[in-house]
Each structure stands twice: as structure tokens, then as C-alpha cells.
């Protein structure tokens, strides 16, 4: 054995080299596996998801992912949502991107679902979950958004008058929406603006708006989500109330058009494209057991007005192409 030491050592060295090369090849940049993901959001047909879909499309192409944007209406309960998610898991989804309709009481749901699939939350808050269950979320800094929106309102042309403000608060079951509203209210209350009514979306927002505004009309309407803002825009158009100023959060084509033609004074646009893109990338990394698995992330929002909507970078945000 002593005599053959050189030979044995040589064979050992070469064997290690071969092993290292093979291992490196396995761990190296290989062609990505094709994963299937499902996207389950509230009211999937809403135009507010258009930019989101474009981001989804771009990321899926790049990472070779097959996605299914599940058609949904308005989720009425957590259980309904849970069923929808479970169905997707049963159908073989490797991961799910979802926007939960509520925050409270979803912890248990997330814990259960998180054990059998990879979950990525968008535009919603997550209740505290089992630390062993890996769920990350992508959203926006709601306090900053609410504050920015409030500041835009304060720059209103009507600033010297006593303003009456009505707020369409959207789905206040979501923790992030609550934060958005709270931040907005704080800015307005500090400036002693009168908030006449705050309406949550309880299923018939247009009707509720008509009733509320009929009872007590307002000078400014602020809508905290895309659908609410669209309803407000249509309401003002339909009723010809051209002196009411409209502010809000959203990025659908209709809203952008409305901003362009002057119906909306200021629009807070959340980078939905980036939100979707990042959600897909995060999910892909977790599915491929990549070493880089980022946690919760936030995306930017932009304050857009008619005078800056066609500026260089803003165009790309408001009107994303396939790139």
C-alpha cells in the first residue's frame, strides 16, 4: 500500500476534481425548471390588475413559468378564498400569488396552505404566521402613500376654502387599506379639513356613493383603490359634477385617461408591474431552492398629475410595454 501511495493519492486527487466539476455543474446555472403558478386575487377582471398582468407576463416569460390567472369575482369570505386557493393547489400549482380580501383571521389559513405550497402575498398584509411556514409579501409603504395622497389633496385649488371631503375607503378588511386610510386621515385632520363621510366598499359602492353624496355633498372625493376611483370618476362624469375634485389610488387605463382629461387631479400610482414581476421572481427563487430568497418587499408608488404623466420615466410606469 505504501508502494502505491503516489498512485492512490493521484487517483484521489483526480476523483475529487471530477466530483467537484460534477457538483459545480449541478449547482451551477442550469436551465430553469418549468413551474406552474396560480394567481388568485379579488375581482380578477378589474382593470386595476392590467399592469399587474403585464408584469406577470414579462416575468413568466423570463423565468419559464406557466401561470394561471384565476377568474374570480368578489370574495365574500375567507372561506371562499380558502377554497379557491386549495383548488389551485389540488390542480397542481407549485406556487400561488394571492391578494387576500382580509387580514384578520387569515393566519390559520396561511399556516395551513403554506405547508403544502409556496405562497406569495401581494397588496395585502399578512397576519402573524407560523415562523416555520415561509410566506413573503410584496406591498407598498401604506403610511407614506396615505400621507402623499393627503398632501396632494392639501394642494387643491380649493385650498383657501373650507373643504368637505368624502373618502371611498375601499376594502377596509385589509390591514394595508386600514393603514392607508389612517395615514390619509391623519394628514387631513392635522390640516383641519372636514371629512364628511368615509365609505367602505360593502358590495355596492356606486349606490353608497350616490346616497352619501346626496345626503351631504363634498368638494373633494378621495378614493383609496382603483375600483373605487373608477366608480367615483364615472359618477362625476355621469352626474356632470365637474367642480368636484377627484384624487385617488389607481392605474387603470380609464383612470389615466381621466387624469389626462383633467377629471382626476392627482393619481397615486402603485408600480403594479413591478409588484407582479417581483412576486414571480420571489416565487421562482423559493421554488428552485435558490440560496437568495428575499423576504417581504415593497414597491414604489408615484404621484402623477397631468403635467408629469408623459415625462420620460413616468410614461413607462403608466403605460408599460411588453419589456
Amino acid at each position: 500500500m505504501k508502494e502505491n501511495r503516489i498512485f492512490t493519492v493521484g487517483v484521489g486527487i483526480v476523483a475529487i476534481m471530477l466530483f467537484a466539476l460534477s457538483l459545480g455543474r449541478l449547482l451551477g446555472e442550469n436551465a430553469p425548471q418549468k413551474y406552474k403558478i396560480s394567481i388568485v386575487v379579488d375581482r380578477s377582471s378589474s382593470a386595476g390588475w392590467d399592469k399587474f398582468r403585464k408584469g406577470l407576463n414579462a416575468a413568466s416569460k423570463k423565468y419559464n413559468i406557466e401561470y394561471n390567472f384565476v377568474t374570480t369575482g368578489r370574495f365574500l369570505s375567507i372561506q371562499q378564498e380558502y377554497l379557491s386557493l386549495s383548488r389551485e393547489i389540488k390542480n397542481g400549482a407549485d406556487g400561488i400569488i394571492t391578494e387576500l380580501r382580509a387580514t384578520e383571521g387569515t393566519g390559520v389559513l396561511l399556516n395551513e396552505l403554506g405547508k403544502s405550497t409556496k405562497l406569495e402575498l401581494v397588496d395585502c398584509e399578512k397576519e402573524v404566521t407560523d415562523p416555520t411556514v415561509s410566506i413573503s409579501s410584496i406591498g407598498v409603504d401604506e403610511e407614506a402613500l396615505g400621507e402623499a395622497l393627503g398632501k396632494e389633496v392639501l394642494q387643491s385649488n380649493l385650498q383657501n376654502q373650507r373643504l368637505r371631503i368624502g373618502i371611498l375607503a375601499g376594502n377596509q378588511n385589509k390591514g394595508n387599506m386600514q393603514k392607508r386610510l389612517d395615514a390619509l386621515k391623519k394628514v387631513l385632520e392635522e390640516s383641519e379639513k372636514e371629512i364628511v363621510w368615509i365609505m367602505e366598499d360593502k358590495g355596492q359602492p356606486r349606490k353608497d356613493l350616490e346616497v352619501a353624496n346626496h345626503k351631504r355633498s363634498v368638494d373633494i372625493i378621495i378614493a383609496l383603490d382603483n375600483d373605487s376611483l373608477e366608480i367615483a370618476t364615472r359618477y362625476l362624469r355621469d352626474t356632470g359634477r365637474q367642480f368636484v375634485e377627484l384624487y385617488g389610488v389607481g392605474d387603470s387605463d380609464e383612470l389615466i385617461y381621466s387624469l389626462d382629461v383633467g377629471m382626476i387631479r392627482s393619481l397615486i400610482v402603485i408600480d403594479q408591474y413591478q409588484m407582479a414581476y417581483s412576486a414571480v421572481v420571489n416565487l421562482w427563487q423559493r421554488l428552485s431552492n435558490s440560496r437568495n430568497t428575499p423576504g417581504d418587499q415593497s414597491v414604489d408608488f408615484y404621484v402623477v398629475r397631468a403635467d408629469n404623466m408623459y415625462a420620460d420615466g413616468m410614461e413607462r410606469i403608466l403605460f408599460p410595454t411588453g419589456q
Binding site: 505504501k2 503516489i6 498512485f7 476534481m17 466539476l21 459545480g24 436551465a31 382629461v261 403605460f319 419589456q323
Partner: protein, 655 residues
């Protein structure tokens, strides 16, 4: 100063010497695992051959692999570049064709519609519509504006958005500034016309100043053709394909991006593209370094617009990417090394087998007599010769050992004989009878003298068991003997001793003079009547430039024939019978003395008999002049040759 330098340099030399000594110690220290250690397995013949072959193989493999890799990778790189260049040119040509077709549409709109004299508005609209419909896949809108920015006609949508200042729009101001040219804008969202369906389009605006004839009046107007950016986007997406190591982008002559596959990342500043510098480069290949990575940038300019189509080839981590050249090279090197390792092992084992077998046979040699013939006679001529030489050497060693043993035995025997003869009872009886006679005769002093001489004689004979004694004692022994014999022979002969002092201080084998004297008495003095003379001389002479002790015993007796004297010592057996000698004296003959001297000191020394009839006999003893000391005596007793005289050599070494 000079002395100091000498001291310093001596010290320096000492330090160097001690360093050399310690290095030598490290390299050749036994038992220490180091490649050159004597006991290291790396020093084996097989391993040295294997190491040498492997070293050569590794060098050759690495050299060839490097050459092949460099050749292959540069070729691959060139092919990639060529492919990218070709694709780039294709893409550029396609885009150019597209832009040319748009120009043609603009030209057609201008020359075939706008320039037609006396065309009324509805006809103008109709013609514009027709042209638009024919190319609506690539067009978003066509519009004509007056020089004041007022909309004259537009298809498909003619309702303008409010609050639009057309004259401030880029397409308008650029067209108006350079009247004779067509102008292509950067991609932007078309925001001139009101589309109640909320649709928006990314367009590239092609604008030019035109002559508009209306009601016989020619006025300047601006013709705007909004090309669908989608077409260019799809073209570029197709060009980019799925290859991650390469991408194409489009920018204008100032470096402003028209299309980039990572546009959003650039906007978010998470990716950078140095388009402004690139736009100033000439068409062709450029090699740059970006974020520590090498990139190949290929440019092609699109005619008329001055747009730049750019291809960027990224150098990815070559080792582990699928199809990475370096990965395969390393795999090939590893496999080749493995094969060469096995092959070299077999070869080195095969080549070293004869010498290893020989080595093994030598190690396994036990009973040399039995196995000496079994030493392998195998392998190359040198190994066979080595084996045969070893066999011969072993045989020679065996012979010499046998010879040595024989000599030792002979020596022992002769010394035993000599000693035995000294205690021969006849000499003792005779001498004691003489003593009795002397006592009875009242010659007490003579009796005392006799006994004293006898005692001294036997004491020296025994010498406490030693065989090596100083010459002074040997002379004394001879004197004792002669004194006894003179009395016994009633002084029929005289004896004289003349030995140099320096001779007396040397060592000799005992019992060498007495037998010669005995012979001189019994063969020389016999028959003589009172005139016998025996002279014992001793001195150191030079023979062949070497010092030699020469002791001689000369008698004036009858002598012997010369031939007999010369051949006396050649006999194995004493000429006179042993029993006869025993009766007269000690019984140890000259041959015994001669043999003992030669066995002890070598063949240069010993006896020489010179005689002739009636001329007496001289017996010469030659001994090496070894100065007496206790250590020398002990050493010689144990059979070691003492090298005080350089004449010590010859057969029958007592080592």
C-alpha cells in the same frame, strides 16, 4: 579591521556550514516523512518512475489542453461574434426596411395625397383613410397640422385632446427646424387624440414639413405619421431570442434608448447601459470591461435615422454553464489524467518489476547456500548482470568467510599447539631432574637459578593466557630457555643477545624465539664439542621503504643444504617427527612459528632460513614494529590488525 572582517567572514562561513548541515539533516534524516528521506516510499524505483511519467504526462496534458482550449475558445468566441454580427446586420436591415417602408408611406401620403392640387377636405380624409387602412398594422395614426399647430386632418381618430400644445411637441418642432428632412422620434405614448375607449399606443412619430395646397394657396404644414412601436418591439424581441449571454438594443445617435430588453431595470437604475458613449463609437466590434466582466459590443448604424443597433455579448462564468467550454476542458483533463495515471502505474510496475523482484529476493534470502541460486535472473541485461554480480559477490563472500574461519581455526590450533608444547612434561622433567641433581650435588645456587629460570620461562609461556606479548618478554623467555639449556648442556654453547631497545618495546606473538633456539641447539649444536655459538639479534630495518623488525638467530652449526633451507617452511609437517621433538624440547617447530606469525601479521612477515652445509644456519624472523600499549595488546588479542605500520596487508586478515 582586516582581522575583524576575517572573523566575521569565518563566522558567516560557520553559519552557512551549519545551515547546510541542518538542511542535509532534514533531507536525509531517517524515519522523517519527506520525499527524499531514505526510508520514504517515494524513493522506490517504481514510484520514481511513476512520478517522472506522471509529471511528464501532466505537463503534456496541461500544455495540450491549454493550447486546445485557447484555440477552441477563441474560435468559439469568433463564431459567436460572427453570429451576433450577422444577426445584428439582419436586424438592422429589417429595421431599415421597415423604416424605409414608413418613409414611403409618408412620401405616398405627401406626394400622392397632400400634394394633389385642389383636394378638398373630405377627399383628403378619404385618401388618408385609404392609405391608413392599407397599413394599419404598422400605423397608429396619420395627421396633418398647420404651421400654427392646428389639426387639419387625422385618421383614424380626429378628436384632439384638450389643452395640447402641438407646436411644443417634439415631432412638430423638430420637423419645423429642419424642413427638408424626415424626422423619427423616440418611442412615446401618443397623447394627441382623444380615444374614449381609453386605449393608449406607444408610437414612433415620423414627421415632416409638407406643402399643403388648399383653395389654391400653398401653405406649410406638418405631416405626422405615428408608427406602431409594437412592430419594432416585436422585431427586437425576436432578435433577442432566448440566448442569455447576448442581447440587442436600439438607441438613437445621441444614445437615447429606443428599445432595450432590460428597459425597466434601467429605469429603476438596477441595471446600467452606457448608451451615450456607445452611440459615439464606430460601427464594428469593440471589446470592453463592465463590472469586471468582459463584453463584446458590436454596432451597426441604421441608415438615414442614424439609429444604432447594438449587440452585447456577455462573457459568462464558463466553467459551470451548460455547454461551457472550460467545463469540458477540465473534464477532459481530469479523465485524461486518470487514464494516464492508470497507464503510467502499469508501465512503471512493469519496468520496475525486475529490480523489485531482485530486491525482494535479496530481502528473503535466509540460508544463503540454499537461496543464492534462486535470485532472479530476470529483466533487462543490466538487472540480470546486477543479479549475477550479486550472486558472485555472495559466493566470494562465502569463500572468504570460509577461508577466514579456516585461518582462525588454524591460528587457534597452532597457538594451542604452541601452548601445549610449552607445558610438555619432557622439558619439565629433564629440567627438574637437573635441579634435583644440582641440589643433591650441593649446587644450591645453581638449583635456585634453574628453578627461577624455569618459573620465569613458564610464566612467560602462559602469559596469563595472552598470545600477544611485548618483545622484551619474548626475549626474556628465550633467555630463560637458553639459561636452562646452557646448564643442561654444560655450557657446550654460548648465546649472545643483541636486541635494540626500540625492538623490545614492540609487540609480538609469543613463543617464537624459543623454538628457533631449540632447533639451533638440537640441529645446529648437536655433535659440536664446546664451540657452539648462537647469536640472537634484533633491530628495525627498512624493507621496501617500510619498517620491519628483524630478529635473527644465527648458529655456527652444521647447517643444511640450501635447497632444504629454502623449502623448509613449505612443508606442512615438520621434517623431524613431533615425538622426537617432544623428547628433546618444546616440540613446536619452525613451521608453527612461521604460520603463527603469518596468520597474525600477514604473509609479508614470518621466518626465513638461510643455511648452507657447514656454514651454520640463520633463521630470520620478520615482524611488524607495533609499539606496545595495553590497548594495542588487547586489540590484537581480539584479532584486530593494528595499522601502525603501513605494511599491514595481505591475505588472511584478522578482522
Amino acid at each position: 579591521m582586516h582581522n575583524q572582517e576575517r572573523i566575521i567572514s569565518k563566522e558567516g562561513e560557520k553559519r552557512i556550514d551549519s545551515k547546510k548541515a541542518s538542511l542535509k539533516e532534514i533531507f536525509f534524516q531517517k524515519g522523517y516523512f519527506f520525499p527524499l528521506s531514505m526510508e520514504s516510499p517515494f524513493r522506490s524505483f517504481h514510484n520514481m518512475i511513476l512520478l517522472s511519467f506522471m509529471l511528464l504526462s501532466v505537463i503534456i496534458i496541461l500544455f495540450l489542453s491549454s493550447v486546445l482550449y485557447l484555440q477552441f475558445s477563441s474560435r468559439l468566441k469568433r463564431e459567436r461574434e460572427t453570429q451576433a454580427e450577422q444577426l445584428l446586420k439582419q436586424g438592422a436591415n429589417q429595421l431599415e426596411e421597415y423604416l424605409v417602408s414608413m418613409r414611403r408611406i409618408s412620401d405616398a401620403m405627401y406626394y400622392n395625397v397632400i400634394k394633389v392640387p385642389d383636394l378638398n377636405m373630405s377627399e383628403l380624409n378619404e385618401e388618408m383613410n385609404l392609405l391608413y387602412e392599407a397599413h394599419k398594422d404598422n400605423l397608429v395614426s396619420v395627421a396633418i397640422f398647420s404651421s400654427q399647430g392646428k389639426l387639419i386632418s387625422a385618421v383614424p381618430i380626429s378628436a384632439e385632446k384638450k389643452n395640447r400644445k402641438v407646436v411644443e411637441q417634439d415631432f412638430f418642432s423638430t420637423a419645423v427646424q429642419q424642413v427638408e428632412n424626415l424626422h423619427f422620434s423616440l418611442p412615446h405614448v401618443q397623447n394627441l387624440f382623444d380615444d374614449p375607449s381609453f386605449r393608449t399606443h406607444w408610437v414612433i412619430s415620423l414627421s415632416r414639413v409638407v406643402d399643403l395646397n388648399r383653395d389654391g394657396v400653398s401653405n406649410n404644414a406638418v405631416l405626422l405619421v405615428d408608427m406602431n412601436y409594437d412592430t419594432i418591439e416585436r422585431m427586437m424581441e425576436k432578435l433577442n431570442g432566448d440566448d442569455d449571454s447576448r442581447y440587442f438594443y436600439l438607441c438613437d445617435k445621441k444614445g437615447k434608448l429606443i428599445y432595450h430588453p432590460r428597459m425597466r431595470e434601467i429605469l429603476r437604475k438596477s441595471f446600467q447601459e452606457n448608451t451615450e458613449d456607445v452611440a459615439e463609437w464606430e460601427d464594428g466590434l469593440h471589446y470592453i470591461k463592465k463590472d469586471g466582466r468582459k463584453e463584446t459590443v458590436i454596432l451597426d448604424t441604421i441608415g438615414y435615422t442614424g439609429w444604432k443597433m447594438v449587440s452585447v455579448l456577455e462573457e459568462k462564468n464558463p466553467v459551470f454553464t451548460p455547454g461551457g467550454t472550460l467545463y469540458y476542458v477540465f473534464m477532459l483533463i481530469s479523465l485524461t489524467l486518470l487514464i494516464s495515471l492508470f497507464f503510467n502505474q502499469l508501465l512503471s510496475l512493469r519496468l520496475s518489476y525486475p529490480i523489485r523482484k531482485l530486491n525482494e529476493d535479496l530481502e528473503n534470502m535466509g540460508d544463503r547456500e540454499r537461496f543464492i541460486e534462486e535470485i532472479s535472473n530476470y529483466g533487462s541485461t543490466e538487472i540480470i548482470h546486477l543479479g549475477q554480480t550479486l550472486v558472485q559477490s555472495f559466493r566470494k563472500i562465502d569463500e572468504l568467510t570460509e577461508e577466514k574461519i579456516q585461518q582462525q581455526e588454524e591460528k587457534r590450533q597452532t597457538e594451542m599447539d604452541a601452548l601445549q608444547s610449552q607445558i610438555n612434561p619432557h622439558f619439565l622433567y629433564n629440567t627438574l631432574e637437573s635441579v634435583v641433581w644440582m641440589i643433591e650435588s650441593g649446587k644450591k645456587e645453581d638449583a635456585v637459578f634453574m628453578v627461577t629460570q624455569l618459573a620465569s620461562f613458564f610464566r612467560i609461556s602462559l602469559s596469563g593466557g595472552k598470545n600477544i606479548i611485548p618483545l622484551s618478554q619474548e626475549i626474556q623467555h628465550a633467555k630463560n630457555y637458553m639459561n636452562i639449556q646452557k646448564i643442561r648442556f654444560k655450557n657446550k654453547f654460548a648465546v649472545h643477545f643483541d636486541v635494540q631497545e626500540e625492538v623490545l618495546d614492540c609487540l609480538t606473538v609469543k613463543l617464537i624465539l624459543q623454538p628457533i633456539l631449540e632447533n639451533a641447539i638440537y640441529h645446529g649444536m648437536e655433535g659440536m664439542d664446546g664451540d657452539g655459538e648462537i647469536d640472537v639479534r634484533g633491530k628495525i630495518i627498512q624493507e621496501n621503504s617500510l619498517p620491519v623488525i628483524l630478529l635473527s638467530v644465527e648458529d655456527n652449526g652444521f647447517g643444511m643444504p640450501v635447497e632444504k633451507a629454502e623449502s623448509f617452511l613449505d612443508n606442512e609437517v615438520e621434517p623431524s617427527s613431533f615425538s622426537d621433538r617432544k623428547k628433546r624440547g618444546s616440540g613446536v617447530g619452525l613451521i608453527n612459528v612461521h604460520k603463527r606469525i603469518q596468520l597474525r601479521f600477514g604473509s609479508r612477515y614470518g621466518l626465513k632460513i638461510i643455511s648452507a652445509p657447514d656454514e651454520g644456519t640463520t633463521v630470520q624472523l620478520r615482524l611488524p614494529p607495533i609499539e606496545y600499549s595495553e590497548e594495542t595488546q588487547k586489540s590484537m588479542e581480539h584479532g584486530n590488525m593494528h595499522s601502525s605500520s603501513s605494511g599491514f596487508h595481505g591475505g588472511g586478515r584478522n578482522s
